[in-house]
C-alpha cells in the first residue's frame, strides 16, 4: 500500500441560508494515495466544489462552515492549523486550479509578475531566479513562445493558454497535491485533450497526486485510476475506474453512465434519470436519491444508508441498501 497523502474523514460542511444552516456536504470520507489521479464526479450542486474548497479551507467568504470531520494532509489535520500555517500549505504543498482560467488571473497585471509573485511567496529566491522558474514551468506546460507569453496580459491569451499558465503557476512550487476543479470544462475539446495530456504528464513525471473534479465521465474514464461519485452532498459510490464503469452498483452511477451519449453507438434515444437534483434546503428524508430511483423501496425513503463495502469486493464502496444486504437500519 502506498503512502496516503490526503485523508478526509466524515467531513460535513454547512452553509448559512437566511436563518438556518443547510448541509452542503455530509459524511464525506475518502483518501488519496501518492501519485494517483482520483476523479470526483457528480452533477452541478452535488457538493464537489464545496469539498475542494473545504480541503483548501477557502470557504471563509462564502458563509460556509466545516462543522464536523477531519482533513489529514500527510497526517496533519488541516482543520487544526491557523490561517497563517494554512497559507504556507496552500500553493506550495496543495495547489488548486479552477474552472475559469480567465477570471483566476488578475487582468491588469502581466503574466510575468503574477508568476514571479506566486513563485516567491513559497520559494525563497531572487526575482531573476523566480522568473527563470516561471519560464521553465511555462515551457514545461507546452507554451510555444515563453518570452512573449510572460510579457502578455491575461486577456491577450486564449482560454487554453490561460489554463496552461494556471497549471504552470500551480506546479511551480512542486505541490504534492493538485486539486483541479473542472479544469477543462470551459475549454474546447481539442484544447481539453491537450490539457488532459499535460496533467497526465505532470502526474507521471513529478508523482503529483491529483484530485480531478469534473462532471464529464469521459474525462474521468481517460484520466483517473479511482473515482468518487457524489450526489446531494454525499459520496454514493467509490471504486477503481474499471470497476466503476464496468460494474457500477449504485442506481445513480448506473443512470449517469447510461445517459452519457457515446460516439459510434448509434442510438437515437438515451435513458435518462427522471427529476432533478434536490435543493439543499428541501432535502428528501432517507436516501437522497430515492425520489429519482426506480428501485427505491420503503426502506430507502425512511433511512439513509451508510457508505459500505460491496459484498465480495475489496475497494468498492457504495451508499445504497439494494447492494449491501448486511446494512441494518
Amino acid at each position: 500500500m502506498s503512502e496516503t497523502i490526503l485523508e478526509v474523514k466524515n467531513l460535513r460542511t454547512e452553509f448559512k441560508r437566511e436563518k438556518s444552516y443547510v448541509t452542503a456536504i455530509h459524511d464525506v470520507s475518502f483518501s488519496l494515495n501518492k501519485g494517483e489521479i482520483v476523479g470526483l464526479v457528480g452533477e452541478s450542486g452535488c457538493g464537489k466544489s464545496v469539498t475542494s474548497m473545504s480541503i483548501m479551507r477557502l470557504l471563509g467568504d462564502t458563509s460556509g462552515k466545516i462543522t464536523n470531520g477531519e482533513i489529514r494532509f500527510k497526517g496533519r489535520n488541516l482543520l487544526d492549523l491557523s490561517e497563517r500555517e494554512m497559507q504556507t500549505i496552500r500553493g506550495s504543498r496543495i495547489s488548486m486550479i479552477f474552472q475559469d482560467p480567465m477570471s483566476s488571473l488578475n487582468p491588469p497585471i502581466r503574466i510575468e509578475k503574477q508568476m514571479i509573485e506566486a513563485v516567491r511567496i513559497h520559494e525563497n529566491c531572487s526575482k531573476e531566479q523566480a522568473r527563470k522558474i516561471a519560464a521553465d514551468m511555462l515551457h514545461e506546460v507546452g507554451i510555444p513562445d515563453v518570452e512573449n507569453t510572460l510579457r502578455s496580459y491575461p486577456h491577450q491569451l486564449s482560454g487554453g493558454m490561460c489554463q496552461r499558465v494556471m497549471i504552470a503557476m500551480a506546479m511551480a512550487c512542486k505541490p504534492e497535491l493538485l486539486i483541479a476543479d473542472e479544469p477543462t470544462t470551459a475549454l474546447d475539446v481539442t484544447i481539453q485533450a491537450q490539457i488532459m495530456d499535460l496533467m497526465k504528464k505532470i502526474q507521471k513525471e513529478n508523482g503529483t497526486t491529483i484530485l480531478l473534479i469534473t462532471h464529464d465521465l469521459g474525462v474521468v474514464a481517460q484520466m483517473c485510476s479511482r473515482v468518487l461519485v457524489m450526489y446531494a452532498g454525499r459520496i454514493v459510490e467509490q471504486a477503481d475506474v474499471h470497476e466503476l464503469f464496468y460494474n457500477p452498483k449504485h442506481p445513480y452511477t448506473k443512470g449517469l453512465i447510461a445517459c452519457v451519449p457515446k460516439i459510434g453507438s448509434d442510438v437515437r434515444r438515451l435513458p435518462s434519470i427522471p427529476g432533478s437534483v434536490p435543493d439543499l434546503s428541501v432535502m428528501p428524508k432517507g436516501c437522497k436519491f430515492a425520489p429519482r430511483c426506480q428501485y427505491a423501496s420503503d426502506r430507502c425513503l425512511k433511512g439513509e444508508p451508510d457508505l459500505v463495502l460491496v459484498d465480495g469486493r475489496e475497494n468498492h464502496w457504495i451508499r445504497c441498501y439494494l447492494e449491501s444486504k448486511d446494512q441494518t437500519m
Partner: protein
C-alpha cells in the same frame, strides 16, 4: 425544386472591431461563405469549437442579425433581405431555442405568459384559448399546469429549457433552430431534453437546425452534420458517414479529442498544432493550414472548394480533391 425547407447560399457576415477613434477598422470574419441545405423533417447539425461562427449562423437564419451578403431561402423565399416587419409573419414558422436557460426567460413574467407570448403575437386567440393552449403545451413538455403560475427563478435549468421548447412549439413552427440547447445542462438532464426534442420532432414533423459543440450529442440527434472551422463549413455528410469516415483533418482531430467514457478504450489522437488563428486575420489559402498535420504548399496558397467526395459527403480539402 423546393425539396429543401431552407437553403443557405454563400452567407457572409463580418463584425467591425476596434471602433476606437482613429484606429484602423478591422473586421471579424464570423461567417465566411457558408452554404448548406436543410430538408423538411431532418435534423441538420452544425458543430465546431467556440468562435467558429455556428451561433452567428443561427442568428443570421433567424433574422436576428443581417448578413453582409448571401441568400437564405426559406421555402424558396429569400428572407435575408426582408425588413423586420416583412419577416414577422414568417417568424411563426421559424422558432428558436436558446442556450442559456437562465437568461433566456424574462424573470419578471410568469411561465404561462412567457409561453403564450408567441400566440399573442401571431394568432388571434382569446386569453382563455391561449391559456388552454399553454396548459396543453406544458403537458407536452412534461410540466404540469400548476407550473404556469410560477416564475422562472423557481425552475431548474432543465425545466426552463422545457419552457423554452414549449414556447417555440406554441405557434406550430415548421423549423426550430436550437442553439446549444443542452450544453448548460447536467448530463442526466441533457438526455431528458434531447429525448423530448426527438419525440416532438416525430409528433409534429419538425425540422431542426441543431447547433452544438458536443459531438456525442450531435451524433445522437442528427441526420446530417456540418463541421465548422473559422466561419466556414469544412465538411458535411450524413451522420453515420462522418463518424465512420471523417475526411477532413479537422474533423478527424475533433473526433479524436472527445474523451470516451470507457476506461478501456482510448482514441488515437490526431494532434493539432498551435492555436486557433484569430478570425480578424484569417490565414491565407486553406483556413486550417496553420494547424493541419498534412499541410502542403498548395494549402498555404489556394483556398480549397467544398467538393463532393462520395454521395452526400462534401469536404473542403485539397488532399481529398486529388484523391
Amino acid at each position: 425544386m423546393d425539396e429543401n425547407l431552407m437553403s443557405v447560399q454563400d452567407l457572409v457576415k463580418t463584425f467591425e472591431v476596434n471602433k476606437g477613434f482613429l484606429a484602423q477598422k478591422k473586421y471579424v470574419h464570423a461567417v465566411n461563405h457558408v452554404s448548406f441545405d436543410i430538408k423538411p423533417g431532418e435534423t441538420f447539425s452544425l458543430v465546431g469549437e467556440s468562435g467558429c461562427g455556428k451561433s452567428t449562423t443561427a442568428r443570421l437564419l433567424n433574422h436576428l442579425i443581417r448578413p453582409d451578403s448571401g441568400k437564405i431561402l426559406f421555402e424558396g423565399k429569400d428572407i435575408a433581405a426582408l425588413k423586420e416587419d416583412e419577416m414577422r409573419p414568417l417568424r411563426s414558422d421559424i422558432q428558436m431555442i436558446f442556450q442559456d436557460p437562465y437568461g433566456s426567460l424574462d424573470p419578471r413574467m410568469k411561465i404561462q405568459d412567457l409561453i403564450a407570448e408567441p400566440l399573442l403575437i401571431h394568432t388571434n386567440l382569446s386569453a382563455g384559448e391561449r391559456l388552454k393552449k399553454v396548459q396543453e403545451l406544458l403537458g407536452l413538455v412534461g410540466l404540469s399546469p400548476e407550473h404556469g403560475e410560477r416564475y422562472p427563478h423557481e425552475f431548474s435549468g432543465g425545466q426552463r429549457q422545457r419552457v423554452g421548447i414549449a414556447r417555440a412549439l406554441s405557434v406550430n413552427p415548421k423549423m426550430i433552430i436550437a442553439d446549444e440547447p443542452v450544453s448548460a445542462l447536467d448530463v442526466s438532464i441533457q438526455a431528458q431534453v434531447l429525448n423530448l426534442m426527438q419525440d416532438l420532432q416525430e409528433k409534429f414533423h419538425l425540422t431542426y437546425l441543431f447547433i452544438s459543440h458536443d459531438l456525442s450529442v450531435v451524433e445522437m440527434i442528427s441526420d446530417r452534420i456540418g463541421v465548422m472551422y473559422l466561419g466556414t463549413i469544412v465538411e458535411t455528410a450524413p451522420k453515420k458517414e462522418i463518424f465512420a469516415h471523417p475526411l477532413h483533418p479537422y474533423t478527424k482531430a475533433l473526433l479524436s479529442a472527445v474523451p470516451i467514457a470507457d476506461p478501456e478504450q482510448h482514441n488515437e489522437r490526431v494532434a493539432l498544432k498551435g492555436e486557433l488563428p484569430s478570425p480578424v486575420n484569417p490565414p491565407s489559402g486553406c483556413l486550417f493550414h496553420t494547424r493541419c498535420p498534412y499541410c502542403t504548399k498548395r494549402c498555404r496558397e489556394e483556398r480549397p472548394q467544398l467538393t463532393e467526395v462520395s454521395p452526400g459527403h462534401f469536404c473542403r480539402c485539397h488532399l481529398m480533391e486529388s484523391a
